[in-house]
Symmetry: D2
Subunit: 409 residues, 4 copies
């Protein structure tokens, strides 16, 4: 029986759990300590800490309090870890709780979070995904079923003070270029809703006021949302503080490259079983700035694809310069238009792209002025044939089922 070092109770607020935090700061005390070579389990909340429910209303998505995210389990201290080391994490397994075999996907309102296609889908919507063994399906998005490529959206070690300062400085600088923008250009430190583990009182206030938000991925990894950093992977994390301070959360049952729906992948609470070891002085030995990893030997084999191209001309017809982000947005929009021909609503198609093991490739990035990105849609996730044919597409869905929507109040 493997020890569970951090437990969560989904019926209690994460704020009452001292082994949870939702900001990055070197002063957050270690939630527990382990030896190199140990393997153990860690439980996590879903990234919102339970704000989104298994129901048929998107009001909770519309009204989500994003200042709270992401609730992370940790930090885990690893004895002997020192700045400059690499912390090697074997993700031995990940799973949902038996009592909570479901996850959510959705789009935030453009006025509260937004997302990759928020100009096209500006209103909060939600889909619920049930887990049946290794598979998931949704009562809101018929005709698709996937085996899960389960992964933590967010995992990494504590920054030291110097790195934290750098993060805060550079993100503030960007934010200040358009401070009133909605959605904001960056999420800055905010004591409101901060949770700093077991820190209390003045120590809490001091840390919370400079604690970096968990939203973006950074040098330490963090919220990378890499679908292939999944159960079975071996990850090498830079260490910045004594003891490393590894935290993790934001579990996804399945996600497409880009996590374009933002809210999010198929988001779930659950547990990880990991083993930690140290590669001493690994950062300089291997020239490491960001984490590197070896993907798992076990992943769903959805390897027959229909591939959509996109170029960096935006929706207004304006030419952008070698902009992969724009090109990928066009590829996604092209795929959505295609799926609508089979009877899906645009929202359902968008949700599929956010939740299925879709690949997003950077295909050509030097052919001025257009970048080319490709979206790889796995065809085996559909119950029907979605390849083009001379008979034209068949509307397999009659539109009677759609995703709940919650207009802004």
């Amino acid at each position: 029986m493997t020890d569970t070092l951090i437990k969560v109770d989904l019926n209690e607020s994460p704020y009452t759990n001292e082994k949870i935090h939702n900001r990055w700061h070197p002063d957050i005390p270690m939630a527990c300590w382990v030896e190199p070579g140990d393997d153990f389990k860690i439980e996590t909340y879903d990234w919102t800490g339970g704000q989104i429910k298994n129901d048929d209303s998107a009001a909770d998505v519309r009204d989500v309090d994003l200042k709270q995210v992401h609730f992370l389990s940790g930090p885990i201290g690893v004895k002997g870890a020192q700045p400059g080391d690499l912390l090697v994490v074997d993700i031995l397994d990940i799973g949902a709780f038996e009592s909570s075999l479901w996850g959510f996907n959705g789009f935030f309102s453009v006025n509260n979070g937004g997302g990759f296609l928020d100009k096209h889908f500006p209103t909060a919507q939600k889909s619920i995904w049930d887990f049946k063994g290794m598979f998931t399906e949704s009562r809101h998005v018929p005709g698709v079923k996937y085996a899960g490529l389960i992964h933590p959206g967010l995992i990494g070690c504590l920054p030291d003070h110097k790195m934290l300062d750098m993060w805060n400085t550079r993100e503030k600088k960007l934010f200040d270029t358009d401070p009133d923008r909605v959605p904001a250009l960056a999420t800055l430190p905010d004591t409101k809703a901060a949770h700093m583990g077991s820190l209390k009182g003045d120590a809490f206030n001091a840390a919370a006021s400079t604690g970096a938000r968990t939203v973006p991925p950074r040098e330490h990894g963090g919220n990378c949302d890499i679908k292939d950093l999944s159960r079975g992977s071996k990850v090498y994390f830079p260490v910045y503080v004594d003891g490393a301070g590894l935290s993790m959360g934001d579990l996804h049952f399945s996600q497409g490259d880009g996590e374009i729906t933002f809210c999010g992948a198929i988001e779930m609470a659950g547990w990880l079983h990991i083993r930690v070891t140290l590669l001493k002085d690994g950062m300089s030995k291997y020239g490491i700035k960001n984490p590197i990893f070896r993907p798992s030997p076990m992943a769903p084999k959805y390897d027959d694809y229909l591939i959509f191209e996109g170029i960096s001309v935006d929706e207004s017809g304006t030419q952008q310069y070698l902009d992969v982000t724009t090109a990928y947005r066009q590829a996604c929009l092209n795929a959505i238009e295609y799926l609508k021909k089979f009877g899906y609503s645009g929202a359902q198609a968008y949700s599929i792209l956010g939740t299925a093991p879709v690949q997003g490739h950077i295909s050509g990035v030097v052919d001025i002025p257009n970048a080319c990105a490709t979206l790889w849609l796995p065809t085996d996730i559909f119950e029907f044939d979605i390849m083009p044919g001379s008979d034209g597409p068949t509307k397999h869905l009659n539109g009677s089922i759609d995703m709940p929507i919650a207009p802004d109040l």
Copy 2:
């Protein structure tokens, strides 16, 4: 014996071959006509028309005349094809010529072409790759060998006048925002070095003056540089003019996602064997704007990866907003630093990323303000183990071999 409809002679200038062109324009006459269902072969020059030689000097890369590129074979008229149709192209096979079993890769001088990492590699360099059956290896980049995922970097149908106007207008608008920039923001129509197939005299002049350059990918596909659109793929191209007018060229023996070295993948002359059919009125039936395709059932299995992350903070430490292009550049730079620990020069590492079947994924594109991109380096292409280990990296290469370099004159 399959008919070869377009032949090239590598010892003659492409300008003397009336079935070759290097600009996009609806007035370029069809080089030949085929029936739907026909299969046939098409020969092509390398994209530069033979400017780069199989030798150990990078002077030709430095001095390349980029106004000439890309030399395409076509257009091929398909009887019955009409605007709005999809032209279905089965790429049955692609190969190099028996008399020319080599290709080149290189970096252009930042003053004549540039590339994805031109700030880091501003000087022209070149590597030559020999083909031995399905494999390639280079005398300038030791320790790696790959099976080729052979593909046309450039393939697509002629635009109609309306689409051509749109291309020219939007690219000119971008160009004009910084007309003196080096490298330029866009490549505009240029009669100098234009080759319009069999067009001569006034017709040539008229078409060449507005003929779109072949450099960027666009709505019709074109220079997408998608490594997986390879031999064995089935591609669905939008048709804009009667007869479709399919052209192709820029063959690559192997390429990494992004074709980051720009000059280019492993570039080669060669031939394609294709079959064409029509899906009538397919564009509206399937909601198609850009080409879509089904990848080949046959591709090299280099599926063990070491994955590098990059985020959209640029080399100066400045925070960019959800910019995948920047994030991928960082992932590439991270991989280069890593490979240098094994004894490669930076240039050799860069060349590997441009030529090997590297994957570039758009991993997280909503976690403001950082996009996350991942570069997947296949480990089986190396003769030695490149995984991290407790002994630290071994310098397998002693630096005695490097890629030729040609400083600007």
Copy 3:
């Protein structure tokens, strides 16, 4: 929360559990009933019912009571199922119990069970394999680690009386050709140690005296030991009796093709999560005699192989006629000799072939008089490089660790 319809207590004898049986007979009462479309969980004993322990002695393997095997969970009645239907079973997931995260592999004594290579390994030996998340490793077989391709070695529906008679008749006929052979040519009905679910008294005696042993695979599937009929598979089983009567057991964490060690794969107790549906009259519609199945979209990717050939000349040098069994035995022996060069004992090598996701292919079966079989040894399961090289093999293991052995008393 999914319902568990059959539970087992590993601390109690399977003979006290009325939802367990170890013979095939149409009169065994259904342990439970479900509706088509239901999904549910089933728990199982290991195949021996707990006879083999997690320790370092092979005495339990030597002394095993094989009359008891295999303990199966079921039969499960499916409402509406009729003879001639196909029972479609989606294996949604399989796992070990949290309280029992280990399995065993071993070779039986040639005098009590034997095995594929019992002439070469005539003595009982055992290895214990620990499960760490999706991976397994053994304290008795160092240097290898695998992700599990978990599957039921045994699953199928109850025979009707006619089929049961046929089985008993044909196996008796074979047995009688050499009734004193050790190991026996067939395992015949034996009331001793029989467990017929909830049957008692005369009904028990009647059924036990003709109940077919569970050892061989037969028309209904049964003990096929097909490693790829794993979690995520969809299986189509012939139905012979009203209600189908599906039973299952003999879970394996991992196994090589052939299950050559007989005792067995990596044998474990655990649970299955399955969904059942009906394909009415499917046997005649599709011409089905034996089960067919679609393998899982999720399986460990150990796809780099070193392949060993074997031909149907036996160890004495005698030419056998197109005998794949002999050819595969030679391929296995060849692989064992090879692995010994790296420091493994023969027993350890044999154990690897029985437990790792080794493939056994029927490569040529018409080239008289030699069949050719190939054994595909996955190279990525080893911690060190096992490919041949000019330096000769390195002994990575010093022989200090071996598998427990228990000579016959």
Copy 4:
């Protein structure tokens, strides 16, 4: 340009080509010599030397002279190779001739060759397969198309006298157990139709009278018919004579495991591009008796399967003991019955199993008395869906097309 060391002219008899032989004997002179490290091309006849034509009659299959087979190109002498070495062969590429882009498959008459299912298909039949780039399809077997996993059915080094004697002795012993059997139990040396390269006169007679037939695979490899020993593989062959004497032929465009149709796979003439190196004293270093190999990084990805089981109860209902050959035959027969439900004739279904990249696995070989074998039918080779469904199978073929048949005269 790669040197072609052995050329063939398909319009001339192989008997006039001194670099061709059709028996194994150490006295056959080397056809050419190469240095270790050399790469070069070798051309080959099809295995019958052109006896089977690209037409719509099976008379040539019925009347084939099997004493002539197989015509091999070689032997190639490798300088420095000595008995006990391993000859390492990199198969860099394989292809058909541009002038001969087709192959044949068929079943021999049971009275002249027979095959795996000759009791069920006793009469000569033939199908012709056209090659279109990397794909093949047949005018006699509609509805299927495959990319080729091209491989030499037969490749290996010359035996020494001692090994040759052993082969002849053990095969004669088997033959003598039933010398009148049709088909014969073994093919013994036969001077009639022998071709011993450049040997003439007495030397020819002496060698031909003891030269081993090329039909069976043996210790040296030879006619293994392993579909995965394909272009891109690296093979390690035992060396028995000075210079090694590597010969090869019997090229297959595609084949299923077992090559069950015997005549044969998709048989073709063509060329190989190989590189040879030596691993000195490799046989004892690595304990090698039969060849071992590493499969290619490039193979068609037909990895969605419908899997058929077979057990070792033969067609008469007789129980065979752990007989994989019988079990695989039953799995093949089960697959044929299944395919007939979609409109294929039995002969067409048989031909698909012999030519498509079907896998044949040894699934359980210890569960007395039944072996279990599985046949893996790739579903993506079919133009239509062949998975079972609630609507029952659709007859996609109307029976208007079948394979030519030629009854015995």
